[in-house]
């Protein structure tokens, strides 16, 4: 039971954290259509997170609610991929600031959506009937997220010198973080053993296929990856998650048990 809930939290936290990140474009999109598109993607992701948190809350029982899980856990308890918590720009030193970079947003959404399209499809065979139901809905949504982000990836990569350079830089920055998809995770392994989760290694080749085909069309080079393998799904995060959570959770924490 506890292994499955940790795995379900991993899925939920992925959706919530990326939903929160994408929502930073709300009101700031490069054009109105993109502002709306990313806000809609965020709504889907936050909706998926809610269904998963509700499922976890029902499994845990007691006074656990979806709001408690989203707003009253700290970064060490979050199990999302590190990829999803990074800001919308490349690495910076010290206290430097940078404006939101659309290429980073698109590349991140593409890499994650390609994974989730395959994973939600595979989870139709989960032993948990409620997870199967959530996966069936989420698959429909992520198909649109993937098509959207893939189209933009191609447009940016195969676009102007500036858009190509930015897309390539975003890819070089983010691709190493995808190593985490395939890294060991005790909660995932235990959920696989319980028949709730599926082994991600079974979809790795398909993910590579989707990524390579899109990158070829986008005239982008797949970077060599190596080095540190992030462990966000095991609760070890970058410094960025704390700032994201501070913003997302501040209202709920300022007014605990508030109703409206």
């Amino acid at each position: 039971m506890s292994a499955s809930t940790d795995y379900l939290l991993h899925l939920a936290d992925n959706a919530l954290v990326l939903g929160q990140r994408n929502a930073e474009w709300c009101g700031h999109g490069p054009i109105l259509e993109e502002d709306i598109a990313l806000s809609n993607v965020s709504l889907d992701l936050i909706g998926q997170a809610r269904m998963l948190y509700q499922l976890v809350a029902a499994l845990k029982g007691g006074d656990v609610t979806e709001d408690r899980l989203a707003y009253f856990r700290d970064s060490g308890e979050f199990r999302n991929y590190t990829l999803l918590e990074l800001p919308h720009h490349g690495p910076l030193s010290g206290y430097a600031h940078a404006s939101l970079d659309y290429a980073t947003t698109i590349v991140r959404n593409f890499l994650y959506s390609a994974l989730m399209a395959l994973l939600w499809e595979a989870l139709q065979k989960s032993g948990n009937a409620q997870l199967v139901a959530i996966a069936a809905k989420s698959l429909k949504e992520v198909s649109y997220h993937l098509r959207y982000s893939r189209d933009w990836l191609v447009r940016l990569g195969d676009g102007t010198d500036e858009s190509h350079a930015r897309a390539q830089a975003a890819l070089d920055h983010l691709m190493p973080y995808t190593q985490e998809f395939w890294a060991a995770c005790p909660a995932e392994a235990a959920a696989v053993a319980e028949g709730v989760a599926v082994d991600l290694l079974t979809i790795r080749d398909d993910w590579n296929g989707i990524v390579d085909a899109a990158l070829a069309e986008a005239t982008l080079q797949r970077p060599e990856i190596g080095g540190y393998v992030p462990e966000g799904k095991n609760g070890v995060h970058s410094e960025h998650l704390g700032f994201l959570l501070a913003e997302m959770q501040s209202l709920a924490r300022a007014h605990p048990n508030g109703n409206w």
Binding site: D44, S143, R147
Partner: protein, 166 residues
């Protein structure tokens, strides 16, 4: 006096979608069932998109419509089978078109996600709801709501929403 299942259906027959008020919840396929449960009547609704902000409004609308008629029933949200635009009635689709929203195509059988993302354009020639021309262009995969895409007709120049197959 006990309320029958038919009376509940009748009470909800014309309850409109809060976002697209020309179409009813029944025509949209959101209203799935009215049944007698252990604690009395139950109205089964199914969510459209996971994050659709209209869903709580829909639940409230169902409840207050029934309360106004003195009918007591529980509203049950059911995830599976997942809502699909294929459940939309033909009459409902026609109402959408007349309203200016291109109705959804049939979802592809056994849709394969890889094929879906790489070969989207041709299969999805969307006729303009205003002039009927198929010479249309997608301007954004997401329109005013998650369930719609934004298109433009290249013949009559009208921009329009397309209710995406889901």
């Amino acid at each position: 006096m006990t309320t029958s299942v038919e009376e509940v259906w009748a009470a909800l027959e014309n309850l409109a979608d809060p976002e697209i008020p020309v179409i009813s919840l029944r025509e949209l396929g959101i209203l799935r069932d009215v049944r007698t449960g252990a604690d009395g009547l139950e109205v089964v609704i199914t969510p459209t998109y996971s994050g659709c902000p209209a869903m709580s409004q829909i639940e409230d609308d169902v409840r207050s419509t029934l309360e106004n008629r003195g009918i007591s029933a529980r509203v049950v949200t059911q995830l599976a089978p997942a809502w699909t635009t294929d459940w939309m009635t033909e009459a409902g689709k026609e109402k959408l078109r007349a309203y200016g929203i291109a109705p959804p195509h049939q979802t592809p059988a056994a849709s394969n996600v890889v094929r879906f993302i790489t070969k989207p354009a041709k299969a999805e020639a969307v006729p303009c709801p205003r002039c009927g021309s198929s010479n249309t262009l997608v301007s954004s995969h997401f329109g005013s709501t998650a369930c719609k895409a934004l298109y433009k007709c290249l013949d009559c120049q009208e921009p329009f929403d397309y209710f995406k197959p889901y």
